[in-house]
């Protein structure tokens, strides 16, 4: 069994707003700050929606009206916490995968008057690698990974 250990990503930033507004900008206002380059839809992003309830969908809507789901809301606790599921499969193809759940937790912690510390944690990243691990096992068994690497190295221009 090939277990891939991968540490969660933890980030924190201070914003000049109370938790209520920070929460609102993060969720309801995601379209305004998301880098539109990051899309899995063929159509450019016109809107990013985080439905304001547990079990709500998290998706991008393209300029042509098509919707491409990214994940869902696992916990909706304004103004202090939102837990999202990032369900974008990346191992072999980049697309929404219902069965894949990596957790993205965002906490909004009041830090003095009108200031909020926003803490973000993206965890279960090893799950993103399941497909990669499967592929690796296949290469190991059929061919020998080292042999493959050696040949690859020889053929690289």
């Amino acid at each position: 069994m090939n277990t891939v250990a991968i540490a969660p990503i933890r980030k924190s930033i201070l914003v000049n707003a109370a938790p209520e507004r920070a929460f609102k900008v993060f969720t309801e206002g995601m379209t305004r700050w998301w880098n539109k380059q990051y899309s899995i839809n063929a159509s450019p992003i016109s809107e990013i929606v985080v439905e304001a309830r547990a079990e709500g969908r998290w998706f991008e809507r393209g300029e042509d009206g098509s919707e491409c789901q990214w994940g869902k809301v696992l916990a909706w606790e304004p103004p202090s916490r939102v837990l999202l599921a990032w369900q974008i499969e990346t191992g072999e193809r980049w697309r929404f995968d219902e069965s894949l759940v990596t957790e993205l937790e965002i906490r909004f912690i009041a830090d003095g008057e009108g200031t909020t510390r926003v803490e973000l944690e993206h965890r279960n990243l090893d799950r993103l690698g399941d497909q990669a691990a499967v592929a690796r096992q296949i290469f190991d068994s059929s061919d020998g990974w080292q042999g493959l690497l050696d040949r690859f190295a020889q053929k690289v221009d």
Partner: protein, 109 residues
């Protein structure tokens, strides 16, 4: 970073089809092209972009060259996500500031 271009690389529908053709295993350009409504040179171009994005790798098999999905991307993926969230949180904070200025809601003097 390879994953920087991965989203962009895979956003093109034809390129995504090329990539998905490799899910079932390593294939040469001709075999991929036969399954898609695009020319062989076009498939080669798409593979070049996928190679540069670190999503696909190639190797010689006998006299031909086959392409396969690069299974070593996990560390790159984490590194990519790490800078992705840095960038995203900074953009989020900038948006809060912008709102502070426009709406005069800022509570900081």
């Amino acid at each position: 970073m390879a994953y920087d271009s991965a989203f962009t690389a895979i956003a093109d529908p034809t390129r995504r089809r090329v990539f998905e053709e490799l899910r079932s295993g390593a294939k040469p350009v001709g075999v991929i092209a036969a399954k898609l409504p695009v020319s062989r040179p076009a498939v080669s171009q798409h593979l070049k972009v996928l190679l540069e994005a670190g999503l696909v790798a190639g190797r010689a098999e006998g006299t031909r060259r086959v392409y396969f999905i690069d299974p070593r991307g996990l560390g790159e993926l984490r590194a990519w996500l790490d800078q992705f969230w840095d960038q995203s949180l900074a953009a989020f904070a900038a948006e809060v500031e912008k709102e502070n200025q426009i709406k005069g809601k800022g509570r900081k003097r």
